[in-house]
Symmetry: C2
Subunit: 167 residues, 2 copies
DNA sequence: TTAAACTTTCAAAAATAATTGAAAGTTTGT
DNA sequence: ACAAACTTTCAATTATTTTTGAAAGTTTAA
């Protein structure tokens, strides 16, 4: 396979993976493109490579910056802006999980807590509801924490040992 | 809050969370409904509670069964089918992560391997591409394994200890 | 074998999400 | 202050995904 073909394949794949996980395809593609670029890329070039409009590029770059995984860069003597992606993968994972936690998990937890603390009265139906949603609350809370710590865990010497033991 | 209201809130929230993670809203809502039902529910009742069509109910129940997190049940003397959800949360997480791995991560890994093993020639651009995609391959592979083991890890006494230490 | 009681399928319709492009906004240099 | 070089915004359009509903399919009981 040739470089250009490989790069395109990577960008397409990352885009598809993104949309399966609720991330807009173009956003994931821009991110992919920046991830494998060794230098900052202009909006013009992004539009050209991905064949997208200026508005689309602008909005999705903004979204990526809001997630904290793409940065603006200025080049001396150049008026236009350039963009780079966070390339450290542990950092990337950490930022994505922090954002998803903040935007999606935390609000869901809040609701779970609310609904799991209603007066259960005496019907088996209501008891089961309270029981199940309470368990779910605990579980999601725990999973959210584990994700927070995953990077740390993966780097951790003890973690590595445990991973080996568990295999 | 009253039971009915709480139940509805839970179903809606679970549905919204699902769609943010690339799972169709109705599918997540049906799953939510079954999760908090203490007995198996008929398609008729699902349609009624969620206000959806027969076709929609049928297709999404099928999808949930394909994921292995909803089961068909037959009641003696009843002609129609009833449905229940996997209620054990560790089992649920394990099945979801296994399926997502099989359907999405594994195919993506295959492509990542392909594109990361091209001849890098000598340009810095191509070298960076190979380097970054290789790192990504390793990272995704590792993350995929960690997810596989997470349940196990969470149940594990040693794991619990480590979690405490890491906090 | 027939028909009632169900479930599944899928083309068409509806709902939702993403994209465009041009006008408005901003910044910088002269 | 002006205008060139950019970026952002957002209403309208387009693409994608989901949902519907009725016809076709299946199973069961008599």
């Amino acid at each position: 396979m040739e470089f250009k073909e490989a790069k395109n394949k990577f960008v397409q794949t990352w885009g598809a993976l993104g949309s399966q996980w609720g991330i807009n395809k173009t956003m994931a593609q821009i991110h992919a493109l920046l991830m494998v670029s060794n230098e900052a890329v202009s909006m013009e070039d992004i539009m050209e490579e991905l064949q997208i409009s200026r508005g689309n590029a602008s909005m999705n770059l903004r979204a990526l910056m809001d997630w904290g995984i793409v940065y603006k860069e200025y080049k001396a003597g150049e008026r236009k802006e350039f963009f780079t992606a966070e390339k450290d993968l542990d950092e990337l994972a950490s930022k994505i999980s922090r954002e998803r936690s903040k935007r999606e998990i935390k609000p869901a937890l809040k609701i779970l807590k609310e609904v799991s603390t209603i007066e259960a009265k005496d019907s088996a139906e209501e008891k089961h509801f309270v029981d199940q949603t309470s368990k779910l609350y605990d579980f999601v809370l725990k999973a959210d924490n584990v994700l927070d710590k995953m990077t740390e865990f993966n780097e951790n010497w003890l973690g590595k040992l445990i991973l080996k033991i568990m295999k």
